[in-house]
């Protein structure tokens, strides 16, 4: 079941000084943008193709982006899913498809041994350019998505997340879950899927990222070859921006769990945001720094109230959410909520201390080499840089940008961007008059 959301959970951080991967960029003759990093050490390559075909494009057919994305390898050019998957796997290649709010992606990981790679790419091209969308596969995927929707209903964390997004984004597409609703998924037919595919899986809506032990020339060939099969068509029109909330909302959803899950937040920032570095470094101190953050210290270390306590910004094409959260047994949910809200509010008002800021910068800047120490991590950066049109020297300049953040810039950004009097708060759990046992 694929209910993950690719870009949503990647809180993007990066930086400088040491050798950063050299990202090369070109456009194929079909119009696809390509971002390539040569990583010769291991005989493997990762190729990811991203389309502006995420669930924000669902419109009324909620779930259609996910269905389309998952169906690509379920039948193409007359071959069925068994044949297609076997053609990848018998080469030792791994094919994966994924969907987020902002984009849909397909990924191939292969050994670079010439014959293996060549065959894997032929198969990938087939999946991308000649999907059949067989009716039986469509019905099966629909039925699996319905099961996926039910699976979320047995997870208090997922229930809280959906309610949080719905309240935070209201009529914006980010309010809707990628897997749609029971009714919307059932209503989608094969014709809808084909027209969604033709409209959105186009060269002009695409980007290709290649990281691995392939030469510049080979990367060019591969990107030309793959994109030659993409659909013609125009670049998708833009979606409207996210609006800020006008009033606070407090939502309680009853669920028979031992813990109450608490999420608070509001629309936060977008990719390439002018406040990005102040908000990123600032949040690192508030609740993003793992085991060293105010929320972790106040909620867990000082009071033992929760296993996790965190906050993060999820920058997206439009303002992705700022989210803070924790889970705790029901009879201490009120206490934990107060601690959480109090700390967020204080931080917005007062910002960090000098000492906290220095420590955060040391962690972020000193940890630079860890962020790009594998092909997988480099690929993630390349995809974000390319898809969201961040500057190609983004990694090189990252540490300087982090260094430039001040207490004042954090205070200023947090005050302008977050309003403690307009927070969305979601709680999922047992009402306090029906407390659960240990």
């Amino acid at each position: 079941m694929r209910i993950s959301i690719i870009f949503f959970f990647i809180i993007f951080y990066a930086n400088i000084v040491l050798a950063s991967p050299n990202i090369e960029y070109w456009i194929t003759s079909a119009g696809a943008e390509v971002y390539y990093v040569h990583a010769p050490e291991l005989p493997m390559v990762d190729i990811q193709i991203i389309f502006d075909a995420g669930s924000s494009r669902d419109e009324d057919a909620l779930g259609i982006a996910m269905l389309t994305n998952s169906l690509l390898a379920d039948g193409a050019n007359g071959d069925d899913a068994d044949k297609i998957s076997n053609d990848f796997e018998s080469l030792g290649a791994i094919y994966a498809a994924d969907i987020g709010y902002d984009s849909a992606s397909l990924q191939l990981r292969s050994l670079t041994e010439s014959e293996l790679l060549k065959s894997a790419i032929v198969n990938l091209k087939k999946v991308l350019s000649a999907p059949d969308f067989p009716t039986d596969a469509l019905e099966r995927r629909q039925s699996q998505m319905l099961i996926g929707i039910k699976a979320k209903k047995q997870s208090p964390a997922a229930i809280a997340k959906d309610a949080f997004m719905k309240a935070t984004y209201q009529s914006h597409p980010y309010a809707k879950p990628s897997e749609g609703t029971e009714t919307s998924v059932k209503a989608i037919n094969r014709k809808d899927i084909i027209s969604f595919y033709k409209k959105h899986y186009t060269a002009k809506n695409s980007m290709i990222a290649i990281v691995g032990a392939v030469s510049h020339e080979l990367a060019k060939q591969i990107s030309e070859d793959i994109s030659a099969g993409f659909q013609d068509g125009e670049k998708a029109s833009s979606i409207r921006a996210v609006e800020n909330l006008e009033e606070p909302q407090s939502i309680f959803i009853e669920y028979p769990s031992a813990q109450t899950h608490i999420l608070v937040g509001q629309p936060g920032m977008k990719r390439g945001d002018s406040d990005y570095f102040s908000l990123y470094v600032g949040n690192h101190i508030l609740g993003g720094g793992g085991m060293v953050s105010r929320l972790f210290e106040e909620v867990r270390e000082k009071r033992g109230l929760s296993y996790s306590a965190y906050s993060y910004f999820s920058p997206m094409l439009f303002k992705g959410p700022f989210t803070a959260g924790l889970q705790t047994k029901t009879d201490q949910a009120d206490e934990a909520t107060s601690v959480l809200l109090e700390n967020i509010k204080n931080y917005i008002e007062q910002g960090p201390t000098e000492e906290e800021l220095i420590a955060a910068k040391k962690n972020i800047i000193g940890g630079y080499p860890l962020r790009i120490d594998s092909n997988s991590k480099i690929l993630n950066y390349v995809v974000v840089i390319g898809y969201y049109k961040l500057p190609l020297d983004y990694l090189e300049t990252f540490n300087n940008n982090v260094e430039a953040v001040t207490i004042e810039s954090i205070k200023d950004a947090f005050k302008r961007r977050l309003s403690p009097d307009k927070l969305v708060m979601v709680k999922v759990g047992t009402p306090s008059n029906k407390k659960s046992e240990d």
């Binding site: 050490e41 998957s85 594998s374």
Partner: protein, 466 residues
């Protein structure tokens, strides 16, 4: 997030399929006089280094009444020593740009730091210090055990799948300590005291019960010199006697029903199966059965073209999702697991029949050469892919060493998989995937909401943050 004991089981399931082989990069092995073992592997792709300290203790070393103590102690290992008081450990690592955390499994408790390569001495100094000089304050313990209970509620109590897995293991194993959940039973957490933790720490945390694994852009002899400096002053602990806790032979199928608030029914079928035995290392004569079971798991669930996906999810569409996994490497004999959720309109009984038919097929028909070749190709490529992560490379060395095998088993793993035949797959299917080794656990959903209640309130208005 700190202390992810469960995650490690997930990593472990992945590991069994893609354990490396033909490792060209050599592992350098050292031992200090106090018994500490040091294993170093060079990887010069990036200027980073990962340190992992593996202790031979975990959930399977525990007994009734104190379950969860290894994991609780792991939490307390972040609570300070005299030299580095409360909060210092993570603060120092963080200020050095590092990441640190820990995990506990049935067979091990592991602490790790990832750092820029010149900062390796920092992790050695901190780890050496807490190996013998942990403070263990009662005041901190009283708060931390509540955090652990929250962790149990979060991971197990409120997660029907985890709950089912916990129950399946506790039912399948009668005498093997693999019946204990790593996080511990709630009542044991409630009665645990700081004195229990002190004795547990005294007993297991010593250089002669630990392996330090370092992988990264380092010179192994320099790493040894550093290890000598920081770890060799530590006194060795008393030798530890470990009682063998073999599982008694099972005499028939066990069945259990778990009722939990849930939306979806599901089923878990676990068969008791053997693992690679220590005597197999470095021998040309080895027990091929675990490798055949590994291939068998790949035939069933090694990708989207494997039998579960092609026959049960597609094919007869009996499962919405299903999986097979086999634990090839652990300290004691372990499980082969089939689990799944029925498709819309199908029942868990129908899914069980479908699983049983797949087992029967494996017992009565040779798998095709194509399938066998596919599994082998996947193992060979995974051996390359896994080298993309220094952390993962260190994990494999650490696990193998800590469960009583040896890191060099990784060198022969791919070759042994490659030599598995279709007949061997059939033989292990007939020998191990039988009713007398089977436990079936079904999840029967209870309603997740009272019929009367729905979203209780959606108050818009003046709810100020307070």
């Amino acid at each position: 997030m700190k202390h992810y004991w469960l995650k490690i089981e997930v990593i472990f399931l992945v590991l069994v399929l893609i354990m490396p082989g033909n490792t060209l990069a050599r592992v350098y092995e050292f031992e200090l006089d106090n018994g500490l073992k040091l294993l170093v592997k060079k990887d010069h792709r990036a200027p980073v280094v990962v340190t992992q300290v593996w202790y031979k203790v975990g959930g399977s070393y525990e007994y009734d009444g104190i379950t969860g103590i290894s994991h609780a102690l792991e939490h307390m290992m972040f609570k300070g020593t005299e030299k580095f008081p409360l909060g210092e450990f993570s603060r120092v690592i963080s200020e050095n740009g590092g990441r640190d955390n820990a995990f506990t499994g049935p067979d091990y408790t592991t602490y790790f730091q990832t750092l820029e390569k010149t900062r390796l001495p920092i992790s050695f100094e901190l780890e050496a210090d807490r190996m013998r000089y942990l403070t263990l304050s009662n005041e901190e313990f009283i708060k931390e055990i509540e955090v652990v209970k929250e962790e149990r509620r979060w991971r197990t109590e409120d997660n029907p799948q985890s709950f089912l897995y916990e129950t399946a293991k506790a039912t399948a194993f009668q005498t093997s300590p693999y019946r204990f959940p790593v996080v511990g039973w709630m009542q044991d957490l409630s009665s645990m005291t700081i004195d229990d933790l002190s004795s547990w720490y005294e007993k297991w945390y010593a250089p002669n019960n630990a392996t330090v694994v370092v992988v990264g852009d380092v010179d192994p002899y320099h790493v040894y010199a550093l290890a000598y400096k920081y770890f060799s002053p530590l006194p060795a602990g008393k030798p530890i006697k470990i009682n063998e806790q073999k599982e008694v032979p099972q005499q028939g199928t066990k069945r259990i029903t778990v009722k939990r608030p849930a939306e979806l029914p599901s089923i878990m079928m676990v068969y008791k199966t053997p693992v690679i035995k220590p005597k197999d290392k470095n021998q040309t004569e080895y027990d091929w059965e675990p490798y055949a079971l590994e291939v068998l798991a790949g035939i069933l669930d090694g990708g989207n073209s494997a039998r579960i996906a092609s026959r049960l999810v597609r094919g007869n569409e009996v499962a919405a999702g299903a999986s097979a996994s086999y634990q090839i490497a652990s300290r004691l004999d372990n499980l082969f697991t089939l689990s799944g959720t029925p498709a819309e309109g199908k029942s868990i009984q129908e899914l069980e029949v479908a699983f049983r038919n797949e087992i029967l097929d494996l017992q009565t028909h040779l798998v095709s050469d194509e399938e066998l070749q596919r599994v082998k190709a996947q193992v060979i490529s995974a051996d390359v892919y896994e080298k993309d992560s220094v952390f993962y490379q260190a994990m494999i060395i650490g696990i193998l060493e800590t469960i009583g095998l040896s890191w060099d088993l990784a060198d022969v793993y791919v070759d042994r998989i490659k030599s598995v035949t279709n007949e061997q797959v059939l033989v292990v299917a007939k020998k191990y995937l039988i009713d007398d080794r089977l436990t079936v656990a079904d999840l029967h959903p209870l309603p997740t909401k009272d019929k009367s209640s729905k979203i209780r309130s959606a108050i818009k208005g003046n709810t100020r943050a307070h």
